[in-house]
Subunit: 223 residues, 2 copies
């Protein structure tokens, strides 16, 4: 079914150059995300991205100025999407240990289901995050994880179930490192140790391990 578009409905057969700026932008971003994640910044080809789009190379330069502009837009969008991570779960209502477990599971699952995001972050790190520093807005978004974590740790400490001498960012680092690495390094790790890290069986086991590791690390020890 042809989309009737606007009021100018079907005179006979106009070439119907369905104009839709927003759709063009989103289309380009979606394709570019894949290309940059798979091939890296310099490895990705503008022509290839354009070809996979329903529009043309001209549009990429029209909307994003150039390859780097497109890359930066892709990066920003990818980082912004994490916002959806904790929003759907109301961690602050749960008791500390359950909240912590849930937070770990969310992180684990997010990384697992967003390999393109993981790749993009790796790419950006190779470029020493010099494009990321332009994007000040994403700091706030990402630091919300820390606020949540801080709150959970604080409540746990008050209830006497969590120790008090751990920095929330350090805890986040431990969780993030494990979840991220499993995905980012699945190819080399898999090749060397002959393991398929995408195996559901392993996934389940690894999720249990990181949860257990963090839980034990947070435990209060007397003496």
């Amino acid at each position: 079914m042809s989309k009737p578009a606007k009021k100018k409905a079907a005179a006979e057969q106009p070439p119907v150059v369905t104009r839709d700026p927003e759709a063009s932008v989103q289309d380009i971003l979606a394709v570019a995300t894949e290309e940059f994640a798979i091939n890296g910044l310099s490895g990705a080809r503008v022509d290839q991205i354009a070809e996979r789009t329903r529009t043309s190379k001209r549009m990429i330069y029209y909307y994003f100025k150039g390859k780097e502009g497109l890359y930066q837009a892709v990066l920003e969008k990818a980082y912004m999407d994490i916002r959806a991570l904790e929003e759907k779960a109301k961690l602050l209502d749960m008791e500390p240990r359950a909240a912590m477990r849930k937070l770990i599971e969310l992180t684990f699952d997010y990384d697992e289901t967003h390999p393109l995001f993981i790749s993009l972050v790796s790419v950006e790190n190779i470029h020493q995050a010099k494009h990321l520093t332009n994007l000040t807005s994403i700091k706030d978004v990402n630091q919300s994880v820390i606020r949540t974590l801080t709150s959970i740790l604080e409540r746990g400490r008050k209830e006497g179930v969590f120790r008090a001498d751990l920095d929330p960012v350090d805890v986040h680092l431990l969780i993030s490192a494990f979840c991220f690495f499993r995905v980012s390094n699945r190819h080399t790790f898999g090749a060397i140790f002959e393991r398929d890290l995408s195996d559901p069986k392993l996934r389940k086991r690894h999720k249990k391990i990181i949860i257990e590791a963090v839980e034990r690390l947070l435990e209060v020890r007397k003496g």
Copy 2:
């Protein structure tokens, strides 16, 4: 014993074209390691590598066939160098808990002091490790870590200080992930959370954290 000076510079200065194949190869490899680590496979420029070398582009093609051949050689060398990791320490003579702690420290310090290696591994993962699969030799080298770890865990289990239900590769994953991530993602993580992960103070704290996390994870629990 003056060289048969080139006709152009016959008067003084013998050009002294000191031929040294081995040195040429090593020189190229060293420069290429940096370039590939910093710019990635497609981002690195053969001309740039050649220029930084004391030899010429021609030599790169002579010794390594092409850009990909050079990249593969760089990758192989980088992975082979890990062999030196545990060799110098005789972990098998130490009591299990001390050995485990030492192994973690070695991994932590190795990653910390070899950021180029970390970058290369990240680059290779973006390329889905398709160059690594050609290098079967490195599997053995890297699996020696697992053998060591297996032995430590086994002895610990027999002595009753370590639990028995953990896979050595999974334990290695936990350790490796933390140590690797700290370096591989130092730029994005640092930018977002405004932390300099190379700060010695943080380094010391993080080393303590990963050691403590693993130690606690390995503890035997009754019930």
